[in-house]
């Protein structure tokens, strides 16, 4: 049900005008895209600083922000950081540990997602964790919650303050970026939404009682402890949740599609600091 295979970012500046079905994701460069999206949200929320977007909906809604600040004083994800640290340090059956793959520092967040020229794909941090496990004879972890989320909580916590700086090094990487961008702007599912329908066009507006968060900063705070889940979940868990809301068949966590989507969406937030893990409603 995907129509408009690609709807470019520039069109967002003139939302009233017809969305041009003939435009391609490749019509604008990643650098132009960042400028366009920043400008779009700047006009929409002139009082919100770039870094504040890392806090999702709480950047733009003072009332829910107050609640959230109270929650963050006794963070519900704190125990999982400790669990993740233990997992990080516990040797595999072969005696090696994650540090044999990643180096000794757990502050790894800023290196992901990145384009890997050797394997011609986007490598996300969860994917790298499982590649490390498999190389050492361990079973891969599930991608949406549980031990993977705990590990990510620890690594993200150790990486707080690192700047998002996703690079698009070559033509193949650009192709992956554009594929992710097309997914972001394509309408899909029975309700005919795109990600951008809600998180760009409608940011700040309410769907029932939910205020829609802006796309900018969307990938900085993961993993997230969500009250609705009652536990920690990963970014791709959220992606699949939103796709279900669109009544679309969700892509699998860490599929090529969702990694490309993460690549595009994280690049958009270049210059914002990683601040995961975080709490959400």
């Amino acid at each position: 049900m995907i129509r408009f295979f690609a709807i470019p970012g520039l069109i967002l500046l003139s939302l009233g005008s017809a969305m041009a079905a003939d435009r391609q994701a490749s019509d604008t460069t990643p650098a132009e895209d960042i400028a366009t999206y920043r400008e779009y949200f700047q006009q929409r929320f002139p009082d919100v600083s770039r870094q504040q977007y890392a806090d999702g909906v709480y950047a733009i809604d003072a009332i829910s922000r107050e609640n959230w600040e109270a929650i963050e004083e006794f963070p519900p994800y704190e125990p999982m950081i400790a669990v993740g640290e233990t997992l990080w340090q516990t040797p595999f059956a072969n005696g090696k540990t994650y540090t044999d793959c990643f180096g000794t520092s757990p502050a790894q967040r800023k290196h992901y997602p990145h384009w890997d020229a050797a394997s011609q794909q986007v490598i996300t941090l969860p994917l790298a964790i499982n590649q490390c496990r498999v190389r050492n004879g361990e079973k891969p972890l599930k991608y949406k919650k549980g031990r993977m989320a705990d590990l990510l909580a620890y690594l993200s916590y150790a990486s707080r303050g690192q700047l998002i700086d996703v690079k698009i090094p070559d033509a193949a990487a650009l192709k992956a970026y554009n594929a992710g961008k097309s997914i972001y702007f394509a309408r899909r599912g029975q309700l005919n939404f795109s990600c951008a329908s809600c998180h760009m066009q409608s940011a700040g507006q309410r769907v029932r009682t939910d205020i829609l968060s802006p796309a900018l900063g969307h990938t900085s705070g993961w993993p997230v402890y969500r009250s609705k889940w009652g536990e920690l979940g990963t970014l791709h868990r959220r992606f699949t949740g939103c796709m279900k809301q669109m009544r679309a068949r969700p892509y699998k966590a860490q599929s090529v599609e969702l990694r490309n989507l993460e690549y595009f969406l994280t690049h958009m937030s270049n210059g914002i600091q990683y601040n995961g893990p975080a709490a959400r409603k």
Binding site: M1, L15, G16, S17, A18, M19, Q190, L191, N192, F193, S197, C198, Q201, S202, Q205, R206, V207, R208, T209, D210
Partner: protein
């Protein structure tokens, strides 16, 4: 014989006609109630997700309030078209194409419109 038949046909059609007239008021009320249920149901139209409607609980605000519908949409077909496929009128619309994508049937949409006209 033929006169008898035409008489009975006349009588029957007369009865039928009387029946529809008598049924109009309650049928209309039933259609309005059905339309309201569809419009408010999260699995139905879920119009409240995006539009405020009088007495509707915690509405969203992506779309304009659905009020004074008779006055603003005297042409029933225009209203039908907006609900059937909003992207036809505004390609950038965020309103789901309820008819085109089979979220609601034509009968559902007509019931919703009967309800909207009471707002």
């Amino acid at each position: 014989m033929s006169r008898l038949i035409s008489w009975s046909v006349l009588c029957l059609s007369g009865l039928f006609w009387a029946g529809t007239v008598l049924a109009t008021a309650p049928d209309q009320a039933a259609a309005v109630a059905a339309g309201k249920a569809i419009a408010w149901d999260r699995k139905g139209g879920n119009c409240l997700a995006c539009h405020s409607m009088p007495a509707g609980d915690s509405p969203g605000n992506l779309g304009p309030p659905l009020i004074a519908m008779q006055a603003r949409f005297p042409d029933r077909q225009k209203l039908y078209d907006q609900i059937y496929d909003a992207t036809q009128l505004n390609p950038a619309s965020r309103m789901p194409p309820f008819g085109k994508y089979h979220i609601l049937t034509e009968a559902d949409i007509n019931a919703v419109i009967d309800y909207l006209y009471t707002l």
